[in-house]
């Protein structure tokens, strides 16, 4: 029996007790899942995207199950900055595990304003810029599809965030992700998170109508894992060559500790568990445990040894 592996990692300027975080948009503001996870089970969590003002989100239907996955078009419904700071963050700040606040602006100025307020807030360990939401008209993916815009948004947030590290969450809905990651890195991002959901749609053939009121939505779940792995591998290689100080946080369809290990091997320093939490509320904690077990079985002394260890 091998020794208990050291699961602690430092990723994107944040010390994590283990490499497993809960992904934005799938874990609420943390408290929703507190009955289902042991305190300290996760390295941390990424909040639902916070915008300057509260957002109602899109009309229903907002979600639909697809083969080994699901589509969502929530539309970034959230409580807004003021309510988040007043009623969501104080509880989060008291919990073990890192708090990464995902934020979303409709303009570069809004990203900067959010970064300033959240970067200065007590209990926020990092910011994750959402330049990749496929379900909103303004901002979101519109920023994430152009290296110039990714760079501008990132630079504006980094300038206002003080010492709080800035991560950038990237969309897979581009031909080549590497220039987006490059732009984020050049603008001072400490990590890039990928992938957000893949644009998709579902149709009811009998009514000949789209299933989602928004017509299109973002595909997540195990169906997208091969795409996520490929993109993490490509971006991690590019970062290693040009920006070794920038980490990659991998996500997309992680359902088990082995899935998490695959992302680390592909080049991620940490992973995020998203849709799995919907399928079982304790999934992220279970996955963190399974990853530690995998490391022990494989004789991996430190979880960080897995990162980028792919043999090709």
């Amino acid at each position: 029996m091998s020794q208990r592996p050291d699961m602690a990692v430092k990723v994107g300027g944040v010390e994590l007790a283990n490499p497993v975080l809960a992904a934005s948009g799938t874990f609420g503001y943390g408290r929703e899942y507190s009955p289902y996870l042991e305190p300290g089970a996760l390295g941390g969590l990424v909040t639902k995207g916070v915008s300057l003002r509260p957002r109602e989100g899109n009309p229903p239907p907002r979600i639909v199950e697809t083969a080994c996955g699901m589509l969502n078009a929530i539309g970034l419904a959230n409580v807004g900055l003021e309510e988040f700071l007043k009623n969501k963050l104080p509880w989060l700040a008291e919990q073990p595990g890192a708090v990464v606040v995902n934020l979303y602006g409709e303009s570069i100025e809004e990203f900067a304003e959010l970064a300033k307020a959240l970067g200065a807030a007590k209990g926020v360990d990092a910011l994750e810029l959402n330049v990749s939401c496929p379900n909103v008209k303004e901002g979101g993916m519109a920023f994430g599809c152009h290296p110039g815009a990714v760079g501008q948004v990132t630079a504006a947030a980094v300038a206002e965030a003080g010492d709080t590290p800035v991560w950038v969450k990237l969309t897979p809905n581009v031909t080549d992700l590497a220039p987006m990651a490059e732009a984020a890195a050049q603008a001072g991002a400490r990590a890039v998170s990928l992938i957000n959901t893949l644009m998709g749609m579902a149709i009811d053939a009998r009514t000949r109508r789209p299933v989602l009121a928004n017509v299109v939505g973002g595909l997540s779940g195990p169906a997208i894992k091969p795409v996520g792995l490929r993109m993490v591998w490509q971006v991690a290689r590019a970062m290693k060559a040009r920006h070794p100080e920038v980490d990659v946080v991998g996500l997309g369809g992680i359902m088990s500790g082995i899935d998490a290990a695959e992302y680390l091997i592909a080049g991620a320093g940490a992973v995020q568990v998203g849709t799995a939490s919907f399928t079982e509320p304790g999934a992220a904690g279970r996955i963190a445990g399974e990853l530690a077990e995998f490391c022990a079985q494989q004789g991996v002394a430190r979880a960080g040894e897995l990162t980028g260890s792919l043999h090709t």
């Binding site: 929703e32 639909v64 199950e65 080994c68 359902m255 939490s277 079982e280």
Partner: protein, 262 residues
């Protein structure tokens, strides 16, 4: 830690051509469950189908939970094949249940809406509270084993003196349950508790509104997590914006719902 567990299936049998009754060993959930609340139930351990399904809690028997379900799609199609002794992932009890405190409530169930309202009726009976109930269904044939549905050998209708309506006249009066409700509302004013198909709930909400009678409805919406995180189960709110079926519901005051946008 709350109740997310592997629940052993104690029974899973048909009580109608498309309706099944599942019994699960779930002491932690059974101890806390209130009428109108629901559980999330994973029908398969693998990635297909991926999501758990929400099911109303039909009743509690000791440490067991009853789930009455209709086979409508892939998930429930798999669920009916689950054998006794198998374990399913389940979490709950979730959401806001019925307020049973009102004076002489009137329970209105349409079709599978019987699932949570039978639990409500049972609770009211245990409390010794007076209530009345009515039930609408397409045909009596939908439930071939009424004793199994009520769990104790009696048909609900006989046991609780439920008024019934059926679309083919095979049970109670021919027609819709809302016709029974309209007559009842002309005579009485106790709060209405309703669950059933959306068109029925719309009609019930409108009738209650017209008569100035408080009305609670149990609503459904596509749902992924059941715990308030995915924001998928949005119900349009009268005050603007949306309410989550899993948190502010599934049982909501009908006056809070924007029935025009639903």
């Amino acid at each position: 830690m709350s109740a997310s567990l592997k629940a052993k299936v104690l029974g899973n049998r048909p009580v109608g051509p498309q309706v099944h009754l599942m019994t699960l060993a779930a002491p932690a959930i059974a101890a806390k469950a209130r009428p109108g609340q629901f559980v999330m139930l994973r029908v398969s351990p693998g990635p297909e189908p991926l999501l758990a399904r929400p099911f109303s809690i039909h009743g509690v028997e000791g440490e067991s939970l009853l789930v009455l379900y209709q086979v409508v799609g892939k998930g429930t199609g798999l669920l009916k094949e689950v054998a006794q002794g198998q374990e399913l992932t389940m979490w709950g009890p979730l959401g806001r249940g019925f307020e049973l405190g009102g004076d002489d409530p009137l329970l209105v169930a349409g079709g599978m809406g019987i699932a949570p309202l039978a639990f409500a009726a049972e609770s009211l009976e245990q409390k010794g509270a007076s209530f009345r109930a009515m039930f609408g269904i397409g045909s009596r044939e939908a439930f071939t084993a009424w004793d199994a549905v009520s769990g104790d050998g009696d048909c609900y209708l006989e046991h609780w003196d439920w008024a019934a309506a059926s679309e083919d006249g095979s049970l109670g009066r021919e027609g819709l349950v809302t016709a029974l409700l309209a007559e009842a509302l002309d005579r009485r004013t106790g709060p209405v508790l309703a669950c059933g198909p959306l068109p029925m709930l719309k009609a019930v909400a409108r009738l209650c509104d017209e008569h100035g009678v408080p009305c609670q409805v149990s609503l459904e919406a596509p749902m992924a997590c059941g715990v308030g995180a995915c924001l998928g189960c949005a119900i349009p709110a009268k005050a603007g914006g949306y309410l989550r079926a899993c948190q502010e519901g599934p049982v909501m005051d009908a006056a809070l719902v924007d029935w025009g946008r639903i």
